[in-house]
Symmetry: C2
Subunit: 220 residues, 2 copies
């Protein structure tokens, strides 16, 4: 990893609070865990990057595991904050706003040479099988994220932007799958193509969903 790799999930409000040691540990922890994974990130390394003396870690966190679980919350605040800003403060239809969020996520990774991906996906892949506390926490996070996608799909259906037979629950699950898988491809190919393809093709598919049946039955 480049030493100068950007901190993609840098919580600006935290940076201003230079006295907030715990926040500094989380900011640097988020950067390192996002780029290297949880298992490969050492506590000493995080403390060094945060400029915090050794030994103070356990003043703020009971264990590395507790630190990791707080990181999930940290990532969530950052990502959901952006989600809300895009959703509440930008123009466009529900689907356009959803696609804008995924495009933002891609741009975030683009700044880092297409490394990184989604911290939730990374941690799920890394720890889902081997750490029950992480798995349970991530299960909630995934459900929350999919719930946000589902709500936008409901809005899009109500606005007539999606065919009435789209099941928002199932569709949000598929979108969430395709998003995470596209990010893995992004890492391996170091290119935006799979993310761009996901963010276009799946939405094209959705907009045509069920129209074939109408053709066959004559119901339009």
């Amino acid at each position: 990893m480049k030493q100068g790799a950007p901190n993609l999930f840098q919580n600006k409000s935290g940076l201003k609070m230079k006295t907030d040691t715990k926040q500094r540990i989380l900011v640097e922890g988020a950067r390192l865990v996002h780029l290297k994974g949880y298992g490969s990130t050492g506590i000493q390394e995080v403390l060094k990057a945060a400029g915090v003396p050794k030994g103070s870690f356990y003043f703020y966190f009971k264990s590395k595991e507790d630190f990791g679980l707080e990181l999930i919350e940290y990532f969530g605040n950052y990502i959901y904050g952006k989600w809300d800003r895009i959703n509440d403060e930008t123009e466009g239809t529900p689907i356009q706003r959803l696609q804008r969020f995924f495009a933002w996520f891609l741009s975030l990774n683009e700044r880092n040479d297409f490394k990184g991906g989604c911290p939730f996906g990374n941690l799920g892949q890394e720890l889902g099988d081997i750490n029950e506390r992480f798995r349970e926490r991530l299960q909630s996070v995934y459900a929350e994220f999919k719930g946000k996608i589902r709500d936008i799909l409901v809005e899009a259906k109500d606005a007539g932007e999606l065919p009435g037979n789209v099941d928002p629950e199932k569709m949000s699950d598929l979108i969430y799958s395709a998003f995470h898988g596209a990010l893995i491809q992004m890492k391996v190919t170091r290119s935006p193509e799979s993310m761009e393809n996901f963010n276009q093709l799946l939405f094209e598919l959705m907009s045509g969903y069920g129209q074939q049946d109408k053709l066959l039955t004559g119901r339009v």
Copy 2:
């Protein structure tokens, strides 16, 4: 990890060759790396599981990295072998055979309480950002896998099973994304739902693709 966890990628031809020490190392390495990840799997642990004396590792592999790269080939042989058998030896349309492959992949993980996922996806997630040799090898593997999906989609189009406007290249990329992301969800939820949803909904979407335009323009 349970000691009794099944070895999902156990190459039977290898098992018969009890004298083939290298094969035994790869069989046990595949099991451990699949369940724990590459970084968390120690060479000594693999040798112990394979019943091979310490020190003989470097007779077969130049480094842990070389061992890992050979594991990718090992996984590939196993997965592509099954792919070919399903494709060549089972009945059904091209799309049915493709869905059967994904269903097989799910059943493989089901035997392990929905742990594991796809070794290629796991390794891409874990190492894509931090190991250039792995990244390049995985990039070839992903391209090969997507090529196989693409070929089936071409066959399906030719047979009239898919609308003519489906782009097999782009669609195979989206299918590959959704497959890997669904496996991450499977790990975190410990349930087959996201995999089943991917393997049904995305194919339903595909079959209706572009039909809406025909409705609008009157071209049928």
